[in-house]
Assembly symmetry: C2
Homo-oligomer: 456 residues x 2
């Protein structure tokens, strides 16, 4: 029976391998992601080596380190050896012992050095997403020699669309030429005659990938060279890595703005315990902060007992501040991320948010007053004899609270950035909590002014 | 005096033109963005024509349509004629009469047709961000002929890194070859011998740019061909357009999630009135919805009068539901946008969010009970003789409300998507409002159960 099963099982994975032969590698990866990891690893072991390398090289492949663990060690080492340097380093980043050390030992010395070098850079830095496989030539080369060289090394380079020219003596990066410029050039001419005369745009390996993305997008580059302090090339960041980085940053920012830690894993893949860890922290912090509302209300307990009608509008008035704050925060986080505004622009923003908030508060205030007047006239509810004063107090509170909400919501990302946090940590729930406590105090204070001597 | 001023003024703009001569065009654009529009237009008029075209071609240039308006008509027409088709169409999209019609009339017939064609596609579609300047050759061409052709047309094409092969009879797109494959090929060989044998990835002009971005990223392309129903090529979307599109979508989603309409303009550039229009709508809708809280509380007015202590915890209990809902919503919006989950996965998500929410609620419940017990024991506040029951009621309410918050927060994006809205419209304030009303009902109902016959 066991033999029967094995016979039934084996052609199955082999069949899939045949089926995949002509598909785009990205579609093969899509299919593999839908299989259990054991089957996916089996297929990966049976694919032709070059094809297997391509599959492992795809950033969309889920949990590549887990697949590598399931492969025979010799096969795993051969696949890793053929991969691009950046994805290989990424797999080692997520690979645990065993077989981490054993696989690292099986790599060629160059591949091993590349992995160790790339892993030495902090996550989300240019160094951690760069690849060391780029095309560089010395400044003494001609256009024709460069083209010939590209034809020789093409297979082993992630991109050949950018060619980096190094000073023939110091080996420093002095020029970047595109393949487009190269094929337009006279084969006899010096490589130095091509391209613009200005210095190439470069980044340090420690630069944040968000900043790298901004530069690639600004200068419309297909790749950006990463250099050390002496302008020696360490690697390149390519545009496809940057798209992945931008999408990842977008996900992180959205989750942080939602009031939690960034998940760092697809939603359906993280376990319930992992999910709780990412969410419980911020939720508890916000909860403890929100306890200040209970404390604030204790102070106004006397007023509440005298005029229970005030309690009815607490959620309404309070939430308006949070909502307008959430709008302002999302605007400012994004404007800061895009570089539209800088830290020093905080007062310009404040000067915009105060009138905007006051106008928005006035709109809500008018709606609230109309509601109370209507309900009272139509007899839906009796707000007591002092209902005109109550309506006025609520209208004025809304102006105050929405103005305060807009202002503090817009200032919070600046404060987070100033004290060294990600502005995106200024989440919607964070702003709401901040504004809730203050909103209550504003509400009761204004109510005291309007209703003093009557209800209160 | 007037002459003096003119003499002082003119060399100034001219000086700047000289200063910009060797800068990267993206840096020139950065500098222009900092000048008043009149000065920027003056500089644009004085720059060499080709340089001016490059400047106008940069996506980072602010308000290019306004600059074009300030230019002499002849100069404006010459600049527009030389631009890439997609950016030119984008300028006409934002250009009003006059000089829109006059400038359109001055364009060459091909350029005019291209503008009209691109403007006919809906915003944010593949058609609206594509360019019509791509390299295509017939299937009868050799590798050498194709390379020669590229050298001839290079100046007028946005990218030459992707070459599209059309069937020599039907003119349908049958193959996509990269420049990389081309320079590796034998010059005598047929262009059809290069590249993979599978069909090229194509998109329809009506496909949403988000979907185009996903395909470009998935298949690691530098450009994606846009074809009509008969597989005739209409244009290409290049990777740099896609980066801009991804960043724009990220901004829109963040602003919608913050509870407002997408701004579509940089924060510092939109006027206060424009800002109010984008923010007041949602804020008012949420405000009116939140009025249900006042209505819900009217029902429990009797209970509130008997046990005013219940009012103290309303903001605390209510906000926890909104916060957990905001977390769940941001998770699901992002997972839907990335294609990690689909509409049909809603029940899987529900099965994850219910236990997660219950566990998060239990954590907050324990914190709340500890707080009440501590305050009571330490004498900070007297919650009355029934304080143990009160603490229990609040703890249990939190479990119920946070579970409900997580569940409804996670389901809202699915519902939005199902009824045809952008899931990102399920904003944090929207979820909070939804959960506030239900949270109050849950709170008072549980309080009734626990405190019935004692406080209530």
């Amino acid at each position: 029976m066991e033999n029967d099963l094995a016979i039934v099982d084996l052609p199955c994975a082999a069949d899939l391998v045949t089926k995949f032969a002509n598909d785009h590698v990205a579609d093969v990866v899509d299919a593999l992601n839908d299989y259990p990891e054991e089957t996916a690893a089996e297929i990966l072991a049976l694919l032709p080596l070059e094809r297997g390398t391509d599959v492992l090289d795809q950033p969309n492949l889920e949990n590549p380190a887990d697949l590598v663990k399931l492969l025979p060690e010799g096969r795993a080492a051969a696949l890793l050896e053929g991969m691009s340097a950046d994805r290989r380093a990424d797999i080692f980043r997520h690979l645990s012992e065993p077989p981490r050390g054993a696989l690292l030992a099986r790599l060629s010395p160059e591949a091993r050095t590349a992995v160790e070098q790339l892993l030495s850079y902090p996550e989300a830095s240019a160094g951690s997403i760069m690849t060391t496989e780029f095309v560089s030539v010395l400044s003494t080369a001609t256009v024709g020699q460069t083209l010939h060289y590209i034809r020789v090394v093409e297979r082993t380079r992630e991109t050949v669309y950018a060619i980096y020219v190094l000073d023939s003596k110091t080996k420093r990066l002095i020029k970047a030429v595109t393949l487009r410029q190269l094929i337009m050039g006279d084969p006899e001419a010096s490589i130095m005659s091509l391209g613009p005369q200005r210095k190439p745009v470069v980044v340090s390996p420690l630069m944040d990938r968000e900043e790298v993305a901004r530069l690639i997008s600004k200068y419309d580059l297909l790749a950006l060279p990463v250099v050390d302090e002496k302008h020696h090339m360490l690697g390149i960041v390519t545009v496809d890595d940057i798209i992945d980085a931008i999408v990842d940053e977008g996900t992180e920012d959205a989750q942080k703005f939602g009031g939690m830690e960034a998940l760092d894993e697809p939603y359906m893949q993280i376990g319930i315990v992992g999910m709780l860890k990412k969410r419980a922290g911020w939720l508890s912090v916000l909860f403890v902060a929100e306890m200040l509302t209970a404390w604030a209300m204790q102070f106004f307990q006397g007023e509440l007992e005298k005029a229970i009608v005030l309690a009815l509008f607490i959620p309404l008035v309070m939430s308006s501040g949070g909502n307008s704050g959430s709008q302002a925060t999302s605007l400012i986080i994004r404007a800061l991320a895009l570089g539209e505004i800088r830290l020093r622009d905080w007062w310009r923003v404040a000067l915009r948010e105060i009138p905007t908030g006051a106008a928005l508060g006035a709109i809500l205030g008018v709606i609230a007053i109309i509601r109370i007047v209507l309900w009272q006239w139509l007899g839906f509810f009796n707000y007591g004899v002092e209902w005109p004063r109550l309506a006025l107090a609520i209208g004025c509170s809304l102006v105050g609270i929405v103005t305060f909400g807009s202002l503090s919501g817009s200032m919070l990302p600046f404060i987070m950035k100033r004290i060294g946090f990600d502005p995106a940590s200024a989440s919607a729930p964070f702003v709401a909590t901040l504004v809730d406590v203050t909103g209550l105090v504003i509400y009761f204070s204004i109510a005291l002014v309007f209703l003093n001597g009557t209800l209160l």
